[in-house]
């Protein structure tokens, strides 16, 4: 069984990290990130052409995580593959011993590095979650039985701070219904909203892992506000980093506070280091999450 799943079911506060596969075949930087984040994480998300920009596949990179002794969360977006390819990659994932899958829609190609690409979106994330659930029940999406089944722990993304809330929560509940057992959230800045989201998802029988973003520098903040869909850094948080003598240290202190705050509310934290991987073990230690 997935370690992420057993930790969540045992009521442990989990940590998930994020690994970005390279553009190319040199795995050394990715391995270094896995070495830093693996020991302090319950599982590591492996992104799938994040931001609609080309990278080595999440499938292959997730297997590298397994080979290094850690547990990946294989990410699958609906953007780049049709239903045949998605299912065939899920079967491949099961044979590669990838136990967690995070299903996301995917950013539009127009915002990425291949803006001429056709966005596939043959399935949306709710429909793909249903496919994963079906595979866990031993059949493909047409109902044909699989020779050898799957046992994925499936998750989805959730956006506790994006309004309108009634629509957000309705959508998350649909995903839970379709088989999302855990939700990883977009970066949290308002912890009351995290509490509201966590309560609702617990009622639906799913876990919530709160997103913490390392706002390393004013430049990173500008980039996020301009480029990352579905996310805006509040002004008070932004100025805390902008006005600091040492923005990196300010970002680390902010993250420590956020991990502590999330600890009292959610089932775990999902740390997005944006390049500051080296700081993650310290953040988790000082927040009292790892020894």
């Amino acid at each position: 069984m997935s370690r992420l799943r057993s930790a969540l079911e045992a009521g442990e506060f989990v940590v998930t990290g994020e690994i970005a596969p390279p553009l190319g075949t040199d795995l050394s930087a990715m391995r270094r990130a896995i070495e830093i984040l693996g020991p302090v994480s319950t599982a590591l998300n492996v992104t799938d052409n994040q931001g609609a920009t080309l990278h080595l596949s999440s499938l292959a990179a997730s297997r590298v995580v397994v080979d290094m002794g850690f547990e990946p969360i294989f990410q699958q977006t609906c953007r780049d593959r049709n239903r045949l390819a998605l299912q065939s990659d899920l079967l491949a994932a099961a044979t590669l011993d990838l136990k967690n899958v995070l299903v996301v829609t995917g950013d539009d190609p127009r915002g990425g590095d291949h803006p001429q690409a056709k966005g596939v979106f043959d399935l949306d994330s709710t429909q793909l979650l249903e496919v994963v659930s079906g595979m866990n029940d031993g059949h493909d999406m047409t109902g044909r039985p699989l020779k050898g089944g799957c046992d994925f722990f499936a998750g989805a993304a959730m956006f506790p701070e994006a309004e309108p809330w009634d629509i957000q929560i309705g959508r998350a509940l649909e995903k839970a219904q379709a088989g999302a057992r855990f939700f990883q959230t977009q970066a949290i800045f308002d912890f009351d909203k995290l509490a509201r989201a966590t309560q609702a998802m617990h009622d639906a029988g799913s876990y919530v892992i709160a997103g913490v973003l390392l706002l390393r520098s004013p430049k990173v903040i500008d980039f996020i506000n301009a480029k990352l869909a579905g996310l805006m850094i509040p002004d008070d948080i932004a100025s805390r980093i902008r006005d600091a003598d040492d923005p990196t240290e300010a970002a680390i202190q902010l993250a420590i506070e956020q991990v502590r705050a999330a600890r009292g509310i959610a089932d775990g934290v999902h740390v997005m280091p944006l390049g500051l991987d080296d700081a993650v073990p310290r953040i988790l230690r000082e927040a009292g999450v790892v020894a």
């Binding site: 953007r79 239903r83 996301v104 829609t105 950013d107 539009d108 127009r110 915002g111 966005g119 979106f121 043959d122 399935l123 949306d124 994330s125 709710t126 429909q127 999406m141 993304a157 956006f159 994006a162 309004e163 309108p164 629509i167 957000q168 309705g170 959508r171 649909e174 219904q177 379709a178 977009q186 869909a229 579905g230 996310l231 805006m232």
Partner: protein, 232 residues
């Protein structure tokens, strides 16, 4: 109606140069391309001037009733038989369907003079919006009359996606997210509770090329109802 826009003149010029076409016949369309102001009489006359400025002779021109009607187009060709015969090429200011109708009706090289862009609603004079992609498996019954296939930039049946922010679309940031609009309208009509997620779309209904023969339907062959893919 079919929305077209002018094609890059450099491409048209290159097409004609490639076969050394000195004499050109121009065919417009009295229906959509006239409405779009891309292939009506004024535009055909503009194209004539442009071709003449390139040093070509325009042997004749015509704007028939509707360029994508095979019979009508053949009639138009007969009317202008001599002018077309003496031309090296035909330039068609109509949608891609119209260009092909013409290419079938004459044995000269036929070139597109427009880009065909979408099936459009006329918002007001000269302003068009794409609302339907003719997917053959309409979901408007479930989406409060708002088409997500066409008007969500990702074509998602269930949404909003994670990029939605404050009700606005991730991709077209000045617009409301289509799925927010759908859910709002369903709720206003008291239909939200019955709105289960939509199942994956049946793209076999949209297999290319589409074909429909009403004579078959009169004979009771339901297969003629959809794309060729569902014949079996």
């Amino acid at each position: 109606m079919i929305i077209t826009r002018p094609r890059d003149w450099a491409r048209i010029r290159a097409n004609l140069d490639e076969i050394g076409a000195k004499k050109v016949f121009i065919m417009g369309c009295g229906e959509c391309a006239t409405m779009s102001h891309t292939g009506g009489q004024p535009e055909v006359l503009q194209a004539k001037v442009a071709l003449e400025q390139q040093g070509r002779e325009v042997t004749g021109w015509s704007v028939g009733d509707v360029a994508c009607h095979s019979g009508g187009q053949r009639l138009e060709v007969r009317k202008h038989h001599g002018e077309i015969e003496s031309a090296d090429a035909v330039l068609v200011l109509a949608c891609g369907a119209g260009v092909q109708t013409m290419a079938d009706a004459v044995d000269k090289p036929v070139f597109p003079g427009l880009e065909s862009v979408f099936l459009g609603n006329v918002v007001r004079h000269g302003q068009f919006e794409e609302r339907c992609q003719m997917c053959g498996d309409c979901v408007l019954d479930r989406t409060a009359g708002i088409c997500p296939v066409t008007t969500c930039p990702k074509g998602l049946l269930n949404g909003p996606c994670g990029g939605m922010w404050m009700g606005k679309c991730e991709v077209l940031t000045d617009r409301e997210c289509v799925h927010v609009r759908i859910r709002r309208r369903l709720a206003e009509q008291g239909r939200a509770k019955t709105a289960a997620p939509l199942p994956p779309k049946d793209y076999s209904k949209k297999l290319k090329p589409g074909q429909l023969d009403l004579r078959d339907r009169a004979l009771g062959h339901e297969k003629a109802d959809t794309g060729t893919g569902s014949d079996s």
